[in-house]
């Protein structure tokens, strides 16, 4: 690495810990850092001015910085970097770190801290951020010696990217940032090879597949980089493929073998196929409870083959008959090489029947609007979502031909994720449209990031707000499981005028309120040369179906929306008026 021309001279003027940090990041090819300054990280921000090769993006909240870094990482597969000051800055990163942990996103978080001699004294803006983030990071460090700083950062990057990726935090006391550094700036670690699956495990998996009458493949977020191999595998064996929420894009949606998404809001075909399968080949997934439904009723007839890098995930939730520990790519390739397609006409016919039970939203509502938007996406477009009904609708209705075009908060279900993640993804791939679908609730959790769009003149982020005046997903649960006691989910009266809000940040706004207005509004919004916002005002009470109620088995899914009592919004209005009179 020393003479590739990229490495910095170890001493750029008087080198401090802060400069050593930037030199190390630059050496690792980090081009963009999302962050927010403050007292305890000021030496780092000062040193930044000497490193023009690294772009710092000033978000409006540290949570925004963390999610933007996640969006960057999810779109590119490369590590995302975020930065914050001590105390409140650091704690504002916490949600993003937890999100990255559950979705296995490679993330490096740098936090400043009070000077070493003040640590542990409850000093101004001191928080024990390594203690706080212990359970939500892959690993974390406090730098105690400036000479170790670059080595720690290099190791943190290695840990974040290797094996099952995840977030790593490096906390740097202020005196360490200011201390003189004399060492060398390390070159990046080589990316470790993922372990190859053992030949015996592959042989046992092949045995099972050969005898299978009703096989199905289920691909998760850990299979995204094995998409080509999984596609080849499925086609070689002629086995239908289910992609989890995190795995959408691992297998092309246009392929007739694709059955959609499993789980709570999964497709009829996916959930029925799992329930009937005799062999289930899971690749790069962790059998989240939103995917499995009631565990005892999950794939009750199937022998399970589980291909997974993280040994701790094998057998954690679902009993595994053939564990295949190792790299998804190599495993898929080996399984494809052993392919012996057997005609299974009955299974295929059954699957076709289930596939025909797809629910398409026909009347104007959230689903209709989401479908109208996602139908207009090009294969290269990145689609992000926030969390709620619109997220599940987007996951059900969007079609992905490639991996890393779908970005959402799967494991943690973080409202407020969508906009900053779309900004991060849009900045990672400026030539590509970065579309985000959000609800009126979640959008307001990080709406201030519109300022980031304005500040950096980002032009490719397209924001769509599905405005149903409700915290829709919670309302749906209240409707189904709490006898329609709509407790604290009505937003309608207090929502801002989203177009005016966007206008305040120089973001052009468009609005549609009917099915008739929708196509033209989408056109105008997508063809606007700038980043733009589209608000789609939809009727209040639409649900997302199919749905597997919490605690039920996948085969107990409710396929279509139950008939509802009318005029819910009127009730809510009345309630609000009563409350304000009281």
């Amino acid at each position: 690495m020393a003479d590739n021309g990229k490495q910095h001279a170890p001493h750029r003027g008087d080198m401090t810990g802060a400069k050593a940090l930037w030199a190390t990041l630059a050496n690792h090819g980090i081009s963009t850092v999302f962050g927010y300054p403050g007292g305890a990280i000021m030496p780092v921000y000062d040193a930044l001015t000497f490193y023009p090769e690294v772009r710092h993006v000033l978000t409006r909240h540290e949570q925004g910085a963390a999610h933007a870094a996640e969006g960057w990482a999810k779109a590119t597969g490369e590590i995302g970097v975020c930065m914050a000051t001590s105390g409140p800055g650091a704690t504002n990163l916490v949600t993003g770190l937890a999100d990255a942990m559950l979705d296995s996103v490679p993330l490096l978080a740098i936090t400043g801290n009070v000077a070493s001699h003040l640590m542990g004294t409850d000093a101004f803006q001191e928080a024990d951020i390594t203690g706080i983030t212990l359970p939500i990071t892959k690993h974390n460090y406090v730098v105690r010696d400036v000479e170790e700083l670059p080595l720690i950062v290099a190791e943190a990057i290695r840990i974040a990217r290797s094996g099952r990726p995840g977030p790593v935090l490096v906390d740097i006391p202020k005196d360490i940032q200011l201390a003189a550094f004399h060492g060398e700036i390390p070159a990046p670690h080589a990316r470790p090879e993922a372990p190859a699956p053992s030949p015996e495990s592959i042989e046992r998996a092949l045995d099972l597949l050969r005898g299978a009458k009703k096989p199905v493949i289920m691909a998760g977020g850990g299979s995204l980089d094995a998409s080509a191999e999984i596609t080849a595998l499925a086609r070689a064996w002629d086995i239908p493929v289910i992609t989890t929420l995190m795995g959408l894009g691992a297998f092309p949606s246009s392929d007739p073998l694709w059955l959609g998404m499993p789980g709570m809001h999964g497709s009829v075909a996916a959930n029925r196929a799992i329930s009937e399968a005799d062999v289930l080949l899971g690749i790069g997934l962790r059998f989240d409870d939103r995917v499995t439904g009631r565990v005892s009723g999950f794939a009750p007839n199937a022998a399970i083959i589980h291909v997974e890098l993280d040994a701790a995930e094998i057998g954690k939730i679902i009993r595994t008959h053939v564990p295949v520990r190792g790299d998804a790519r190599q495993a898929a390739q080996l399984l494809a090489e052993g392919a012996q397609p057997t005609p299974r006409p009955e299974w295929k016919a059954q699957i076709e029947k289930w596939k025909s039970r797809t629910v398409t939203p026909e009347t104007y509502g959230a689903g209709y609007a989401v479908k109208a938007v996602v139908d207009r996406l090009r294969p290269d477009d990145i689609l992000s979502s926030d969390v709620g009904q619109h997220q599940m609708l987007a996951a059900q209705l969007a079609r992905f031909e490639k991996p890393r075009r779908w970005i959402n908060s799967g494991g943690l279900g973080t409202m407020g994720f969508g906009l900053p993640a779309a900004i991060g993804a849009g900045m990672a791939e400026p030539g590509v449209r970065s579309v985000v679908i959000a609800g009126d609730g979640g959008f307001q959790m990080t709406a201030q990031e519109l300022a980031t769009l304005k500040m950096y003149d980002v032009r490719n982020v397209k924001i769509c707000i599905i405005n149903n005046s409700f915290l829709g997903m919670v309302r749906q649960w209240q409707e189904l499981f709490h006898e329609k006691r709509y407790s604290e989910v009505w937003l309608g009266d207090s929502n801002p005028d989203f177009i005016k809000l966007a206008d305040a940040y120089d973001v052009p706004g468009y609005r549609a309120t009917t099915a008739e207005e929708l196509p033209a509004a989408i056109d105008a919004w997508l063809s606007d040369p700038k980043s733009a916002l589209l608000e789609v005002v939809v009727p209040h009470e639409h649900g997302v179906f199919p749905m597997v109620p919490a605690g039920a088995a996948l085969y107990e899914m409710i396929e279509t929306e139950p008939v509802r009592s009318p005029d819910l919004s009127a009730q809510m209005q009345d309630a609000a008026e009563e409350a304000s009179e009281a």
Binding site: P192, P195, S198, E200, G315, T320, R325, G326
Partner: protein, 199 residues
């Protein structure tokens, strides 16, 4: 319910700040119950050794081991239930005595090869070392006289024989036993990077 019993694990960890928190937090968060925990240094500078007794069925222990293996501070895990081992615990027991009971108490202590470490007018403090059965028996013998205070160090263990005799699976370097024989466990060289010439 499946067979729930105590499992003895030795965990070799890098001697760095927060290691103890990281390990115990992992047990706590995932709901594994630690019955006993002891920590001390080893023959390798920079490496500490913990003996943890965790109760649960085989599945719980396997899951705990795998989660532990992911921690970057963890150098090696030895699951003693897979091999023969020696284990010991040190206990201090303060027993009330009267002029009448004094001789009998001393006699019991002698039978257990226990040493007196403190002599008071109304109490004797004994040191007992042994496996769990011996210590329990000792305490039960003393109970009728009145136990004033006890302190146990927690169990510690070593595998029997020279390390070369220990099959790889005990160190979880080869195949893991709990699931299927085809499962390998992450190579450990990488993790041992900071630790000179371990094993």
């Amino acid at each position: 319910m499946t067979d729930t019993r105590d499992h003895l694990l030795s965990i070799l960890v890098r001697d760095e700040p927060r290691v103890l928190t990281r390990i115990t937090a992992l047990f706590g968060r995932r709901g594994y119950n630690i019955r006993s925990l002891s920590v001390g240094s080893t023959e390798h500078p920079g490496v500490s050794r913990m003996t943890i007794v965790v109760s649960g069925d085989r599945g719980v222990v396997e899951q705990a081991i795998r989660q532990l293996e992911k921690l970057h501070d963890v150098v090696k895990i030895i699951d003693h239930s897979l091999e023969k081992y020696v284990d010991r615990e040190l206990v201090l027991v303060k027993v009330a005595i009267t002029p009448e009971s004094r001789v009998e108490v001393r006699q019991i202590a002698e039978d257990f090869r226990s040493r007196i470490v403190d002599v008071g007018r109304h109490a004797l403090t004994f040191e007992v070392t042994g496996d769990e059965g011996k210590i329990t028996a000792f305490i039960e013998q003393m109970r009728p006289f009145g136990i004033l205070e006890t302190m146990r160090t927690g169990r510690i263990a070593l595998t029997r024989g020279s390390n070369a005799d220990i099959p790889a699976h005990v160190y979880h370097e080869g195949e893991t036993q709990a699931l299927q024989p085809t499962l390998e466990v992450q190579p450990r060289e990488e993790r041992a990077r900071h630790v000179p010439n371990l094993f």
